[in-house]
Symmetry: C2
Subunit: 342 residues, 2 copies
C-alpha cells in the first residue's frame, strides 16, 4: 500500500538511457531536444508518476511560485471573496497562494510576514490589520526584494501597488441618499482615524454634510474597532444622548448589525425614526429584518486586480510606476434607509 519512493528525473533518465539534464530539458520543452525524446520522456514521467520536486526547482530558480496573502480576518465575506478571486487568477498563472490572517493584530501580522518571507514567497498581497501603524515590517518585505501589493487597507507612504475603492466618494453616496430621504441629523459610527480608509470616510462624511448645508457635530463622529459590540455600545450611547440623530452611517456592516439589534430592542422604527446604513455588503445585510443598506466594495474585482497587479510587477521587475487602482463604490439601498418603500 505505502509506495513512498517518489521518482525523480534521475529515474526517468535511467529508464530511457538518457542523462538527467536531457530529461529536465525535455520536460521544460527546451528547443534543442528532439520531439521524439520529449514524447518518450513525458510518457515515462507519467508511467513513473513523476512529480517535480518543488523545493529543488525553487532553490535553483530562486523562485517559489508561491504568493502569500495576509488578511485581517477570514470570517468576513469581503475578505474571503477577495482571496478567492486572487487565488483564481494566480492559479491560472501557475502560482499557488498561502492565506494567513492577522486577526487584526500587529504582532500576528509581523509573525505572518516573517513566515512568508521564510518560505520565500515571490510576493505578498495584503490588507493591513487595524492595529498596524508602524510600517517597518512592510518595508522589510520590499527590502528583501519580495513583491508587495496592498488592497483595501493600505498606506500611501509605502509606495506600492494598491487596489481599493473611493472611500471619500462612498460617504458622499451615503450622505446624499440619507439627505434625499429627508434625514437631517446624521451620526457616523466610524473606524479609527489613523487608518486611511476610515479617515477618508470621515472626511467624505463631513464634506458631504456641509455640501448639503447640514452642520457637522464632532460628538456624532465616534471612532471604534467596528466590532458587533462596538456597534451596540455606540448606538445605545446615541439613543441615550439628549439629542437623538435620525440616521446613522456605520463604517462597517458588523457594527451596523449591532446597531440594528439595539434599535430593535428599543422598538425604534426603522427607517422612519432612524435610518441605518452599513458598509461592505456582507451577505447577512440582506437577510436581517429590516435589511440593511450598505456600500458594495466590489470584492471580486479587488481580488482580481490585486492579483493582476502582482503578475504585472513580477513580469516587469524594473517597472518603476506605482499603480493605485481606485474602484467606484456602489450604494445598495435596502429597507433600513428607504423611507419611500415602506
Amino acid at each position: 500500500m505505502e509506495n513512498k519512493k517518489k521518482s525523480t528525473i534521475k529515474d526517468i533518465a535511467a529508464v530511457l538511457g538518457l542523462t538527467p539534464s536531457a530529461v529536465s530539458k525535455a520536460l521544460n520543452d527546451h528547443p534543442r531536444i528532439s520531439d521524439k525524446t520529449k514524447i518518450a520522456v513525458k510518457e515515462a514521467a507519467i508511467q513513473l508518476d513523476y512529480q517535480p520536486n518543488y523545493l529543488s526547482s525553487a532553490l535553483r530558480k530562486g523562485k517559489s511560485n508561491l504568493v502569500g496573502v495576509i488578511i485581517p480576518r477570514v470570517n468576513s465575506h469581503f475578505f474571503s471573496s477577495v482571496v478567492e478571486n486572487i487565488e483564481k487568477v494566480l492559479n491560472l498563472n501557475g502560482y499557488n497562494i498561502i492565506m494567513t490572517q492577522s486577526n487584526e493584530l500587529y504582532a500576528k501580522e509581523c509573525q505572518e510576514i516573517d513566515t512568508l518571507l521564510k518560505i520565500q514567497v515571490d510576493g505578498i498581497i495584503a490588507s493591513m490589520a487595524n492595529e498596524t501603524t508602524d510600517l517597518e515590517y512592510y518595508q522589510k518585505i520590499k527590502s528583501k526584494g519580495t513583491e508587495l501589493v496592498l488592497f483595501d487597507r493600505g498606506e500611501e507612504e509605502l509606495n506600492v501597488d494598491y487596489v481599493g475603492i473611493d472611500d471619500y466618494k462612498s460617504s458622499h453616496l451615503v450622505i446624499d441618499h440619507l439627505v434625499s430621504q429627508n434625514c437631517k441629523r446624521i451620526a457616523h459610527i466610524a473606524g479609527f482615524k489613523h487608518i486611511r480608509i476610515y479617515k477618508e470616510r470621515i472626511r467624505g462624511y463631513k464634506d458631504a454634510l456641509e455640501k448639503s448645508g447640514l452642520v457637522v457635530q464632532e460628538n456624532w463622529i465616534i471612532e471604534s474597532n467596528l466590532r458587533l459590540d462596538d456597534g451596540r455600545r455606540i448606538m445605545q450611547q446615541l439613543l441615550d444622548a439628549p439629542e437623538r440623530p435620525d440616521a446613522v452611517y456605520v463604517a462597517g456592516d458588523i457594527a451596523a448589525l449591532g446597531a440594528l439589534q439595539v434599535l430593535l430592542e428599543n422598538n425604534i422604527k426603522i427607517p422612519e425614526e432612524m435610518a441605518l446604513i452599513g458598509f461592505s455588503d456582507e451577505p447577512f445585510t440582506s437577510l436581517t429584518q429590516p435589511s440593511i443598506s450598505t456600500v458594495n466594495q466590489h470584492s471580486d474585482q479587488i481580488g482580481k486586480l490585486a492579483a493582476e497587479a502582482f503578475l504585472e510587477r513580477i513580469n516587469n521587475p524594473n517597472k518603476k510606476i506605482i499603480n493605485r487602482i481606485i474602484l467606484e463604490p456602489e450604494l445598495i439601498i435596502r429597507q433600513s434607509s428607504n423611507r419611500n418603500l415602506k
Copy 2:
C-alpha cells in the same frame, strides 16, 4: 533602500575565515564545534542579518516543517477556531501552517491536496468537504508518505488519526433535554447521511427518541447541506405539513438560524410552540433574539489535539497504532429551548 543581497553561510564563513560547513554546524549547535566559534558565528550571523534559506535546508533534510490544513470553509467560527489552535501548537514546535479551504467542493479539495503535496508539507490536517465520498485523494496523501490527521469530518476506512466529538451522544443530550421540556414531536433537520458525523447524529436522534418512548417519524428526518437557505426551506416545509412538530433539532447552527428566521416571520412562539436547538455553538447563536440552544464541540480542544496527534506521529514514524480521540459534547441551553426560563 533596496538591500536585496541575502547573506548565506558562505558569507559568514568568509568573514570569519571558516568553511561553510563549520558555520552550518556552529549554527546547529553541533557538539564538535567549540563554544568560541559558535559565539563568533552567531554574532556574525546577526551582523549580516543572516536568514537560513528554508528551501535548501528543506531539500537537504527532506523536511519542510510546513503543515497543510484543509477546512471546508473558513467563515465558520468552529473551523477558524480549530485552525487557530492548530497553529498555536504547531508554531511552538517549529512548524508553520498553510491554511486552505475546500468550500465544501470535492474538486477544490483535490486541488488543494495536490498543491500541498507539491510544496511538500510534512503533514496534512483536514476536515472533509460535504461532497467528498471518494477517498482516493486521501489515500494519495498517505501513499506519498505524508502524515494525515482528520478532525470532525473524517471516515473510519481511511485508518488515520482522528479527533472529534461523540456525535451519537450529542443527539442524546439534545433529545433528553427536549423531552425534559415536555416536547413530544421532535423533528430533525439533518446533514447528509453519507457523512459519518451526520449519520451518527441521526442514529443518536432515533435511539434517544425510542429510549424516551417517542415514535420515530422518518418524514421528520430531512437531510440537507445545512446552509441558511436549507434551514429556511425545511422549516417552512415542516410548518406547512399537516402535523407540526413541537421541537426541531438542527444539525448545524447556520441552518438553525434560517429556521429561526422562518419561525419569527410566522409569529411562532419560541420555545412554547416550537423549541429549537442547533449545533456547533457559533457565536451568533448567543446574539439572536431568542438566543439559540446548541452543542459545544470544543473547537479549541480539537485543534490542539489534532496538532498534537500530528506531532506524535511525525516524531514516531513507525508507530502503528491509530488514535481516535473522541471528546464529550456539551449542551448549551439557551432561550430557544428553555421553557422553564420564560
